[in-house]
Symmetry: D2
Subunit: 335 residues, 4 copies
């Protein structure tokens, strides 16, 4: 893993070329940086990593015929999942589940570079969204997907279990969506502080508090309407199922590395629970909702962005994330 000169990306006739301004560093990038078993099985080097970014369009392919929508000079971000457009998921609003998905920075060249080529239809104009915010819309979109899947949250109670950057974003999204009570838990006090800043009514330190009891106490004994499971730990799963109210919902985003024991009778069937697995961002209803929230200042992800480095500082960026002292870390690539 190193910085090197790479040629400018090749553009298709329906692509745009984007000069990268900012790029976000994601847990996925850490896996790649450390070349773990997932990374060594999935990536076929050389590949430029990085899938969260914003930039400015510098060229538009000859068959990008959507005049008025995509121009040289536009500030943009992009959905990093490039999908086939033909399969059943793609054709039923579930393109985020396309099995032919090629992810930038994983399956094809990504955003930790001066330039990136993207299909024009993956591009999202920023308009009045600042470009540093644009660089984190990919993970904000994960939070929007997790929080909004399951219907209207107006007056609802939400428990965000795990306060990494996406969890902290989820707190703010739940507030913007009209939740009455947002509870957040984590083991890390720094993350809980960020969650509180993002609007959590109550933060629970899972290392010292009985999280499930506290959630029940805060909800008249009922449990919450929606749990956003962001931890990916079997302990988190157990808490998530126990903290959801009868008839409630658990949306699971955190990726566990091992199986969980589930008592389906007690925790799912008799409770009438709904569980939903969250992958990526809905293409593109998630983006439309997110754009509205960002443009109208209903949600501001910037308190979660704790560190900014130049592209050359990526090693330091990785270090600060691994120390657990960071919220979101972004790279100032071309600013």
């Amino acid at each position: 893993m190193h910085l090197t000169e790479v040629p400018e990306p090749v553009m298709g006739s329906q692509d745009v070329l984007i000069k990268v301004l900012y790029a976000g560093v994601c847990g996925t990038d850490l896996h790649i940086w450390e070349w773990d078993s997932w990374a060594s099985n999935r990536l076929k080097p050389p590949v430029t990593i990085g899938h969260e970014f914003s930039g400015v369009i510098t060229a538009v392919g000859p068959e990008v015929a959507v005049d008025g929508l995509v121009h040289v000079g536009d500030l943009v971000t992009a959905e990093g999942h490039i999908v086939c457009g033909h399969c059943r998921p793609c054709r039923t609003g579930n393109a985020h589940l396309c099995t032919r998905t090629r992810i930038i920075g994983v399956d094809r060249d990504g955003a930790f570079a001066d330039y990136i080529a993207m299909p024009a239809t993956n591009v999202i104009p920023l308009k009045d969204i600042p470009p540093d915010v644009g660089a984190v819309m990919d993970p904000v979109g994960n939070a929007v997907h997790t929080v909004l899947e399951g219907g209207d949250l107006t007056g609802s109670t939400v428990f965000v279990l795990g306060c990494g950057p996406i969890g902290c974003f989820a707190v703010g999204i739940a507030r913007a969506a009209g939740a009455s009570l947002v509870i957040a838990s984590d083991l890390n006090p720094t993350r809980l502080e960020i969650a509180a800043t993002m609007g959590a009514h109550v933060v629970l330190n899972a290392s010292t508090e009985d999280v499930v009891s506290r959630v029940r106490d805060l909800t008249d004994g009922d449990g919450v309407d929606l749990v956003c499971e962001m931890s990916g730990h079997p302990t988190g799963h157990a808490q998530a199922l126990a903290a959801a109210r009868i008839g409630g919902r658990v949306n699971l985003l955190g990726t566990p590395s091992r199986p969980t024991e589930v008592d389906f009778a007690r925790d799912v069937i008799f409770k009438g629970l709904t569980l939903y697995g969250v992958t990526g961002r809905k293409m593109y209803s998630t983006w439309i909702a997110m754009q509205q929230l960002l443009r109208n200042a209903q949600f501001d992800p910037r308190p979660v962005i704790t560190h900014r480095f130049p592209l050359e500082g990526i090693e330091e960026a990785v270090a600060v994330i691994k120390e657990g002292k960071a919220g979101k870390v972004i790279l100032e690539v071309g600013t």
Copy 2:
């Protein structure tokens, strides 16, 4: 129409008896007061009018077996539609459309009295909702039904067309539900002021402004996601259909007194619009959402309550409403 001594209401074995504290005055009550053609056809006097109220339970029927839920001394309000519980609407979440509905204050004795008897299942505990607020939960519920029917409003644009009390409530509910932009229109400047106080981002005086053009200008030319039609005027209908965006929604609550010409091809079919007729409150999903919003201070209807009179002042209450200077008017019955 007059104040007189009436006997205490007769309770069924699954009813509760409620001492009335506050009662709201509704447009329906004005129709009855003036004994117009609707009133003289529908009501069979003598009947005590009034269907919006709060009070305290003074007796519980012998077969009200829900210990822990309904007690003597509880502060409560109630859904004023007493439904059959057997028909298809009642059995599919649409009890507000039960054709056997008996409305308190219209079809049976109502709340402009010292006491009212209600089926225990119609009763809604106020807990920490103030009793003057409890007295307007019936019309607030109309607003909740109108605003929330159609799915999640997070980041959406809403146009409230008509700013009577329910319209003004709708403005605040749309804000609480996470709308990005709430536009309100009326011909009456007093009402527009209240709408602004309730959180409308923009208020439009329909007597001096081109409402549809303004709505389009405020939404990048698209029109809004949701129109809440509260005026009941054919002009309002025309504006509503024109102000909704392609693929948008018009929820109609205002009751027109005459037919409207609709260009279904241009305004509904080619736009892919959804229209929905709003009656009453969903029993009881509307109430659950409303309770959450009120208890957690996400919505406060009190700026809409402009006048308060004793029960004996009902004549004055009617007068102030007819002058068009009032928002919501409530009667202090038993306080």
Copy 3:
């Protein structure tokens, strides 16, 4: 557990008294018959068991005011869950999850008797549904709930995993709902024969076939849109999660007696699955759909009814069920 003379049930003022004609024998009744740990913890004898029945109304309580809907002489069945009507689940279309539910034949006297008293609102008129069919509408309703929860099945693929009586009903319901392909699996050839009779396009014997591979082969490698998990076995859970397509749904009705290991990353999150726990019947949308299907001959549960005994033959009924040779067994109580 024995047959004995019991007094006629006491009726409340909003109850009806029903002379029992037919009663279904359910797995729950077997647990009670054998007085296992669940039964001995839950039941407080003496209690008349039996919760699936049909009958004729012989008396109507004095406050049952729904003229035209419930009369002496009506052939009826009933929802056996008597709920509080006040709690959040009851008020949001989820009364089947009311924590104050009292189940007939478990928490209060049931249907293996000459007479049963029921709240009038729990009663479902049979009209032209035959009374033997009426006696199995409780478990048919479990199947309707399981099959229809998750949206329109038109053109969908469905896998019914476990072909006890409810699984066999589910096969027929899925066909009636417009499924394109219904696959059923079980270990018991008798049950698979009934499933085939009910309309399964393909039946798989799980003792000799690789169920997941077969399901994938039958669906172009994709897996099915909906799995109805009726087995309650951890092996069934694993097959259910594996047999569902990406973006699909698993509705779980079978009650497991021990926990299951779930690989949430592989089987739920990356697949974008939805899981839903099924309890009882939706009150009363499930019943409305079921009535329509039965009245219009779109679904006929009778091929699943393999044995009929007099009430005195209950011991024999239990025996035939335990031998695994039966579909649904009903008792001819008062015919």
Copy 4:
């Protein structure tokens, strides 16, 4: 309007070239043939008309990278709405409402020709659907959109008002979707015969019968769950609103040429109706459902296809449609 030699269409790099086998003749084509005011305002000749077709792929653009999905030799049909892919409707599952839509045979060259070029993502493989059926999937899709929008129809009652080809298709789709009762009306006995062949339980001749009374009689006085308004006549609108049950739904596809008077209070608000305007086909959930129904023989549109002509016989095709003696008419272009 005439047949002439035209050059082979120009393909983009993500297009495919299709040799046309069959093409359907649509009412739109008649408007163009007669060069009415709509046609003369919308079309910019020379343009090849025809938007319903099937064919075989003869060339694939160099950037169509979906190996395994689109090949030379594939039998296909196509969605004829070519949309921008960038706008809010396109990005929220409503691409059928994209304002930048270019319709083949109207805004760009269509299918009454030997060859047509289409974007690869608009192409729908026929697999085992016969190519003459493939040629009518565009209007079948209109019917699928109209019938399935509004949720599960299992056990529902449906009234198809207007039995042109799309109405007749709607009858069969409603049956396949599990409707309990499908009623169809028209003024034309030929069309009613086709509707009956497609599975209508009852056909009503609107010239001799009181359609609304008959619908109510057939539904215990309630009216139907869903009205599919296919006539586009103000009389049809009035019948549609009156024939829908309380809490029901009216999906409007027929395009009226003049406004309708609507009594919103009586017909929409007090009834709690939902109205929905149908344009095109949902891209692509409509197509996915339709493919399933056709491939599994749950729906067969061929009884509606009453006439077949060679491309040179288009004048005769137009004549037979105008005489009102035809169902669907298709052209055998390249067979």
